[in-house]
């Protein structure tokens, strides 16, 4: 980790959530901006060009996906971590396919959130147990007929996903599978890429459920 604090923007329509997150991680990162709706978020992200954006899935004025669509290409060095209370697959899969590099629920603890932000800033992916469960669900069954490697998980990736779904941290996954943490991160990033690019029916269905194809 570099000695400079990570620059973070908080996007959430609930001021209470923003102040809660600020209280939890504000001492360890530099929170350079906050926004409560899509338009403000886009403006703040363009102006501050932060390292990481903590992005709520549901926002007034177009949802988190609208922010991603407007910013991902323009500020490629900024990474997005989706933060949501929603458990619905179409919400999760929607933002991840929109370009978010991770998905955590708001129930996450302060240290875990900080850890996730740092991981995201390093270019890795952050999967909650539930997101790992979604991935396994989406990539299970019906994969045999597809030749596209994007539509399948390798056995190793599947193992990593299962352990994450079981509540293991990356460190614990690495220990269990006798791998380096870096390798685990590589596998998770590969899964993220598949999740974003695969044409698997389940994924497009979830994504289209919120008209987000």
């Amino acid at each position: 980790m570099s000695d400079r604090l990570l620059r973070v923007v908080l996007v959430d329509d609930h001021a209470m959530v923003r102040s809660g997150v600020r209280a939890e991680i504000g001492a360890d990162v530099d929170i350079v901006g906050e926004a409560g709706d899509v338009a403000t978020a886009i403006q703040v992200i363009r102006e501050t060009r932060p390292d990481v954006v903590l992005l709520d899935v549901h926002l007034p004025g177009g949802d988190g996906r609208a922010v991603l669509d407007a910013c991902v290409e323009e500020v490629p060095e900024t990474r997005f971590l989706a933060l949501s209370v929603s458990d619905a697959p179409e919400d999760v899969v929607g933002v991840v396919r929109g370009g978010a590099r991770g998905y955590v629920t708001k129930a996450i603890t302060g240290p875990e959130l900080l850890d996730s932000v740092r991981r995201i800033a390093d270019g890795d992916a952050v999967f909650s147990p539930r997101l790992a469960g979604f991935v396994l669900d989406a990539f299970t069954g019906g994969a045999a007929e597809s030749d596209d490697e994007l539509d399948r998980l390798t056995p190793r990736e599947r193992e990593v996903m299962r352990l994450i779904a079981r509540g293991y941290t990356y460190r614990e996954v690495a220990k269990e599978l006798v791998l380096s943490i870096k390798t685990v991160e590589t596998h998770v990033s590969a899964v993220l890429r598949k999740l974003q690019l695969s044409d698997r029916h389940e994924l497009t269905r979830w994504a289209s459920a919120r008209r987000l194809v």
Binding site: S86, D87, A88, P129, R130, A132, G133, L136, D137, T140, R162, A165, R166, G167, Y168
Partner: protein
């Protein structure tokens, strides 16, 4: 918006102040409720009004014209309709058949009067009367259908009743309209033919059709817009219904819980339990459960986890992949998982990750807590929880249970059953 929309499930309580103007009730009516409506408004017995109308109808048809005029002008009485549940529907049907007999009686009286007048030498049945009657009956049918459509739009506001009414009457309604229009057309044609002879009638009809076409062309954009506006209004109504439902739910459960939380502010454990329980309830309500907890594994596991959370103020993060109908092996797995979750809640620090994977040939559950951990070998024999109800149960059902625990780093229990054996 309806008033009282939040008060109950289907029953809509509409507060109606006594209407100063006459309306047409839908029950206790013979044709369109004009006479009953007027009689209620004028405080006269309904048969008096009906007799007056029948007499007026038989003397030059002025009664029919008046009736039609009142039909068009008097609105349907919404008070009775808005009850729109099945009981009211039954009453309505009952009233309809009772009315039918009354209608027959009235018709018999009318025929008698006509015959009497004919015998007295007053010629009422001339060539043009039959087509006129046909046209009137046809128009009455169409108008009545329009009334019923209006009723069903009202009951559409009464949530489920809507689909019911629409479903059952749509077909009958369409036939009624077709028959009605046919009767009107027949009546008009008959009138033309009887008055002018066939050749002139054809010409007149052609002219009329052209005229209709022209009017239609002029009126089309306006009618279309009206129709669209009406549709939009209906959709807006449905949306506001949904909002009302959500508001009702929030009111019933969320606000209650928030109040409880404020009252228990001094007890963090209780506050956490309340918040967690409410969160679960709200989630399962919002993201509608994918299955019946009595039938499918995933839903049953979720239900059990929620119960354990509530009973032990614990947090169970449940993730399931795949699902299947509950059978004997899955039932055993579920029971063992429940026991493991209880253990994790009591001894494992109050929080656990529960991961279940259901395949066609096997099913696995992993329950991981971050408690103190323990040495499985050191558990005394009289502690039956794990040994008997988990490991024993799994083995009796052709499965296995494995305990991986590190002192200081938590415990993971791995359960597995074969599914092919039983099926």
């Amino acid at each position: 918006m309806r008033s009282g929309a939040l008060d109950g499930d289907d029953r809509v309580v509409t507060v109606t102040t006594a209407p100063p103007r006459a309306t047409r009730p839908v029950s206790g009516r013979v044709v369109a409720g004009v006479c009953r409506g007027l009689s209620e408004n004028l405080h006269l017995p309904v048969w008096v009004v009906r007799t007056v109308f029948v007499i007026l109808a038989l003397t030059g048809g002025i009664g029919l014209v008046l009736y039609a005029a009142f039909w068009a002008v008097l609105p349907l009485s919404p008070g009775l309709v808005a009850d729109g549940d099945l009981a009211a529907e039954d009453d309505f049907e009952g009233a309809r058949s009772a009315d039918f007999t009354r209608l027959l009686a009235l018709a018999a009286v009318a025929v008698g009067v006509v015959l009497l007048l004919a015998a007295l030498g007053v010629n009422i049945i001339s060539g043009s009367v039959v087509p006129i009657i046909l046209a009137i009956v046809g128009a009455a049918l169409v108008w009545q259908q329009a009334d019923d459509d209006q009723r069903s739009t009202w009951s559409a506001t009464a949530a489920r009743a809507a689909r019911q009414t629409a479903g059952t009457t749509a077909n009958a309604g369409r036939w009624r309209i077709v028959v009605g229009i046919a009767l009107v057309a027949l009546g008009v044609i008959g009138l033309l033919v009887s008055r002018t002879g066939p050749a002139a009638a054809v010409q007149a009809l052609a002219t009329a059709l052209l005229l209709l076409l022209g009017v239609g062309l002029v009126a089309f954009p306006w009618t279309y817009r009206r129709w669209r506006e009406q549709n939009e209004q209906r959709h807006a109504l449905i949306r506001s219904e949904e909002r009302a439902e959500i508001a009702a739910h929030v009111h019933d459960s969320v606000l209650q819980t928030l109040t409880l939380i404020q009252r228990n502010a001094a007890d963090p454990k209780e506050v956490q339990r309340l918040a967690r329980t409410e969160e679960r309830a709200l989630r399962s309500w919002l993201y509608a459960p994918t299955g019946d907890p009595d039938r499918t594994f995933a839903a049953a596991l979720q239900r059990d986890a929620t119960q354990v959370e509530a009973a032990y103020s614990a947090t169970m993060e449940v993730v399931t992949v795949g699902d299947a109908t509950l059978d004997a092996p899955l039932g055993a797995l579920l029971a063992a998982t429940r026991e493991v979750m209880v253990n994790a809640a009591r001894h494992g620090g109050g929080a656990a990750s529960v991961y279940a994977e259901v395949h066609d040939d096997s099913a696995e559950v992993f329950v991981r807590d971050r408690g103190q951990g323990f040495d499985p070998a050191a558990v005394p024999d009289d502690r039956h929880g794990l040994r008997e109800s988990v490991i024993g149960r799994m083995e009796r059902n052709g499965g296995s249970a494995e305990v991986v625990s590190t002192v200081g780093a938590g415990t993971e229990i791995r359960l597995r059953v074969n599914r092919t054996a039983a099926s």
